[in-house]
Every structure is written in C-alpha cells, then in structure tokens.
C-alpha cells in the first residue's frame, strides 16, 4: 500500500500557508505515517507470516538436533540402534551415562578440562587486562609501538610446524602447560579491553596520581572495578575457547593420556563412527554399530560435554553482546 503524499504533508503546508508545523502536529503526522507504513494489508500480513515461519523454522533447525541427542542419550543402548527416536526416549535408561563415566580417560579428561578452563581463564584475564591497561595509558611513551607490536600478531603467524617445534624446544609438549602458557595473550581480547579502558575518564587516573598512587594501584583499585563487565566478557570468551579446544591435546599431548581433554576424548569416540561413513554402504546398520561406540553412549558423552556451557551461556548474554560490539564495531 503506497502512502499518498498529498494526504498529509502537502495539504498540511497548504492549509497553513507554509508555516512551520507545531510539535503536536508533527507528531500527529509521524504517528499517521508510522501507522500507514505498518498497515496490515495483504503484503503486510504476508511479510509477518513468512517472517514468523522463517524464524520458527530457524529455531527448530537449531534446537532439534541438540534435543534429539539428549533423547538418544537417555534411551536404552540396544534399542537406540534401531533409530526412530525423535523428541523423547523410547526405552528410558541411564545406562549410557554409567558407561560414559566408566570410559577410561573420560574422567581424566574432565578433570584436565576443568583445570585448564579455570586456570587458563584466570591467567589469561590477568595478562590481557594488564597489557590493555598499559596500552590504554594515554601518556605512556611506547603506547603506539606496543599496540603495533601486538596488532601484527593478529595477522602474521609462524604456522603450525614452526610453532610445534618451538613448543618442543621449550618442553611445552607432553605437559599440561601447553594449554595455558602459549594462549595467554590474545591480541583481539587485548584490543577489546583497551577500547573499553580508553573510554573511561582520564581524570580518574590523574586524581589518583595526585594522591600518590602508582600505576599498579591505579590498575587494581581504580580501573579494574570499573571494567567488571568487559572482564566478564573476556573471561567468557577464553573459558569457552578453553573448554572447547581439542586440537592442542591431539597435536601436543597425543601420547600423554594423563593430559587428555574432554573434547579430545569425545572426538575419539565420534571419529570411530565418522570415518566408517565413507565406506560404500557405510550406514549405521547393526553390524557396524556394534564395532563402533553405540549411538546412545556417543550421545551421552556429547551431552556431558556440552551441558556445563549450555547451562551458563543464557545468563551471560549481555556480557558477550557488549564485548562483541566493542570488538567488532570499534576495534
């Protein structure tokens, strides 16, 4: 429905002899125009209906596979192989969870993953915040050169092999510290933190300095308390990354079962199935499914691995939304 201009604006100026419109009149025009632009004629309804269908479909496609995995995990193992389980388990059983917890390496992996997530998040947050604090000091002499030094690392890196050999020389491989030390500083996170700190008023620092506070005191007592939201964002980013990474465990600690991680253990479980799919009739029929891990156990392992993060993320929404906005739009 096209809105006819002479209905309002033109008529209006004519009848008032070209005088300026008063606020109320302007508001009335805006209201009418707004109403007209959202008028529920055929196209308007079609749009709303299509949009709703699209978003509902989107939600189902996102949610269903995850829900389906949960349903499979609570189903009896042998029965699940037949397939045909959709939203609810057919034969309820928690046997699969028992099996998962008894898999060798799974408990070790869980312990290591929790440890690396907690320790890695803490060290990385402190390191990134400290570096960002230095870079955001407007009177720091080497401020721009320090920034450049770290920005370059975002775009240039040595590549997989030189990094791996370096870690070997430093005796970081076959050790727990390979999860913590190399990834401690991330230039992207530093830039997000720096942008946030730069927006804080300079007077805070100046008045503290007049009171005789050193830079360390300013960082701990003045800047950090104000940065709590952005600290939460960065902590979330790092924690999720730590929890989900598996490649470092495979590349550097393949031989060390005591340093395995949850994701790597899950990968070993799932990979036994994925690789067989390539065979000509590689469907999960009963004969192959018996050799590989049963689907219910795989599902249970998946659920155990994803539950902690799924439980946490909805409550941290506002933090990662602000963090991403700072990083993406301003950074």
């Amino acid at each position: 429905m096209k809105l006819k201009k002479d209905d309002f604006a033109l008529n209006y100026t004519n009848s008032h002899g070209g005088e300026r419109l008063s606020d109320e009149e302007l508001k009335a025009i805006k209201r009418m125009a707004h109403k007209n632009s959202r008028k529920m004629d055929g196209w308007g309804w079609a749009f709303v209906i299509c949009n709703t269908i699209f978003l509902v479909l989107f939600t189902i496609v996102t949610l269903y596979p995850v829900w389906n995995t949960v349903a499979y995990s609570f189903n009896d193992g042998l029965d699940a192989v037949r397939g045909g389980i959709y939203l609810w388990p057919r034969k309820f059983s928690i046997e699969s969870y028992n099996k998962v917890l008894n898999i060798q390496g799974f408990m070790v992996g869980a312990k290591i993953t929790v440890l690396r997530t907690v320790l890695g998040t803490l060290t990385s947050l402190i390191a990134n915040a400290l570096l960002a604090f230095i870079m955001s000091r407007k009177r720091f002499l080497f401020r721009s050169s320090l920034s450049l030094f770290w920005i370059i690392t975002m775009y240039v890196n040595g590549g997989m092999i030189p990094v791996m050999l370096l870690f070997r020389y430093l005796h970081l491989t076959s050790s727990f510290w390979v999860y913590i030390v190399p990834g401690m500083v991330s230039a992207f996170n530093v830039m997000v933190l720096r942008t946030y700190m730069e927006d804080l008023p300079d007077e805070l620092e100046e008045s503290a300095q007049l009171d005789g506070a050193g830079y360390i005191t300013i960082f701990i007592k003045i800047i950090s308390p104000l940065c709590k939201p952005v600290y939460a964002t960065i902590a979330l980013f790092v924690a999720v990354w730590q929890w989900n990474s598996w490649f470092d465990a495979m590349l550097y600690n393949r031989m060390k079962t005591e340093y395995t991680t949850l994701q790597y253990e899950l990968m070993k479980l799932l990979n036994s199935v994925m690789q067989t799919s390539g065979s000509a009739n590689g469907n999960n029929n009963t004969s192959t499914a018996k050799q590989v891990t049963p689907v219910s156990v795989r599902s249970a392992a998946t659920v155990v691995t994803m539950v902690p993060i799924i439980c946490i993320y909805p409550f941290l929404q506002r933090y990662f939304v602000t963090g991403l906005t700072i990083g993406g739009v301003k950074g």
């Binding site: 805006k30 080497f142 030189p162 830079y215 469907n283 998946t302 906005t325």
Partner: protein
Amino acid sequence: MANEADQIVNTEEAAVENEINAEAETTETATETVIAENVETVAETAETTEGNAIDDAYEVENYAKEAYEHTSTLSEAQIKALSKKKISKGELKRQWVLLLISFIFVLYGLLFYYLPLGGWVMAFQNYKLKSGLLHSKFVGFDKFKFMFEFDVFEWGLETTGNIFSAMKIWIDKVVFIRAIRNTIGMGILNLVTTFIMAIVFAILLNEVKNKLGKKLVQTISYLPHFLSWIIVCGIIHDSLSSTGIVNELLRFFHIVDDSYNFFAHQAWFWPIVAFSNVWKETGWNAIIYLAAITAIDPSLYEAAEIDGAGRWGKIRYITLPSIAPTIVILLVMNIGNLLNCGFEVQYLLGNGLVQDVSQTIDIYILNWGVGQMDYSLGTAAGIFKSVVAILLILIFNTVVKKMGQESLF
C-alpha cells in the same frame, strides 16, 4: 519511488553537512585543547621534579606562556612533538612500572609470536631434527617445487595447448593444488553463506515486534556457537546418517526408498561444510548487525515513513545502507581468515571417499608436516598460506578504501 529515494538522499546530505560543520568546529577547538594539554603536562613535570616549589611555580607559568605563544607560529605536528618531549622528562620516573611490564610482554610476544617466523628458514632447508636449524642443508626452493609440481602444469600446457585444461590436469594430479582449490572454494562458500544468513537473520529478527519471542529466538540462535566443532560435527553427522532426521524426512516424502549416504558423494561435501558453518555461527554473527541496527537514528525511519516507505522500503533505504560500513569492516576482517576457515570440519567430517574435495591446506600440513614428519614441507605450505592471507587482506583493504568505505588501516 525515485522521488522518495531523492528525499532520503537529501536528508542524508543534510546530515553530512552538519557533520562537516561539526568537524570544522572541532578542528578549531583542537588547537586549543593541544595548548591546554601542553600546559597540563608542563604542570605535571613541575610536580614531579624536586626543588623549590615557588621557583617551579613561576617557571611553570612561564612555560605555559611560552607554549601558548608558540602555538601561533608552530604547526600542530610541532606542538605534538614538543608536548611529547615534555612528557618524557617527568613521566619517565613514574612510568618505570609500565615499562617493565610491557618489556615482559614484548619478550613473551617475541618468543611465542615472532620467533616462529624465524622457523620459516626451514622451508628452504632439508630440515632434520638432529642437525637443527643451524646445520640442516639448504635446498633453496626445492620444497616449493615438490609441493606445486609445476612440471605437471607445463606438461598439461604442452599436450593440450590450453591454459584451462592444463589447470584442470594440474588440479586433478597434484594434491597441494587440489588443497588450495578446496581451501579457497570452501572458504568463499562459507564466507558468503554465513555473511548473508547473519544479515538476513538480523534484519528479520529486528522486524519482530513481540519482545519475548524475539529474546527467545535470539537466545536459542547463540546456542550452537558455544558447542565445540566436535559436537557440531557429531550432530551434523547423526542428522545425515541413515537413521537421522534428514533421511527420515526423505523417506517420509518418498524421495528415497532406503537412505541416502551424504558422506559418500563428493558433490555434497562443500554444501555440508557450509551448512555446518551457517548452523553454528548465524546467531552469533548476527549480534553485531543487531547492535548496528539498534544504533540507527529513529528519525531516519520517521523521515522514510513520512515519505511513504513501507517495511521493504525502510529495510532497503535505511537499514541496509546504515549497516553497510559494519558489513564492510567485518568482510575485510574475515577475508584474512578465508584460508583459515577450512580445518576442523573438513578434518572431522572428511573420509576416504571425499578426500579429493575435503583436503585443505591445513590438512595437507598436518598430513605431511606432522604425519610424515617432513617439517620443511609443512613449513613451506604454511608460508604459502600466510603470504596469501596477508595479500588478500592488503588487496581487499585497498579496494575498500578506493570505494570510499571505512577500512582497517
């Protein structure tokens, strides 16, 4: 319609004019602030230096006067240099903590980010662990020649006399060339699909007026981002398996009789990878666009409404142009990752039947560099990847700059 567009352009022009005026004002005030800063820093220096307070105070006043008088004759750059010098004197004492800590961070960065670049030497050596970097034999570009197998291309060119068929032979016969094709192909496909989906999703979600529904859909849309690639690949694999939901639906609509094995057909691999990326990241990528959309001045929409724009008109003439700078910036940022976005999914979902279309440069490095322990070859492939990535960023950045959009640097 054209008339409406004109009017919107007019309002935009007016906005730009306003901005220019504001800018002119700020440049006028900028010189003043520089002076003020100068005075401040001088005052600071005075505070830190020990000595007779009264004399110092007198001197500070003088300095300030001098600084003020200088501004009339000196250029802005000179003033900046002057003020910088003044800082260094007094602040140095106080900044030692910052210097010390940043020194530690620079050491850390040199060790973990810059030292591996020295490892690039390996690509031109026949690197052996025993002899190390210093005593391994240099072989020039041999590793690159081995990787690219240019003679295959030349042979193809001689036999067919056609560049395109020679390229085809090259891709068919040489593993690394195939890896390059797969990486770039999947990279572009992923980039385009995830970008379009995120923008469409953000715009459509923004049109929803029901607050609760909007929040719910958005919360659910983030969910896959927080799952690891292992889980996502497991889920995608299960959904496409013979008992999975996709085959159930195909059977239900009688499109297939038994089941279709998606992972046994090369044609399906790239779309599956692209879908995995879209499934995982659409909601997450849309966050930035939604933020950009909420930042749009509502008066622009009001103006468009008065001009008779409907839903589509407002999306086309207000929303899209307003988020265009965000789109461009994100595009430039992601171009550098074009070659990086091909590893985990391909590694996890790939299998023997589809390896011709699934192997990427990273998997090549993993197979040769780690699997076969040919460190030199792995490094050479890594160098190729890094160099191409940097070139892509530089080229794209220049293009964007030429087009008059905001750019990275």
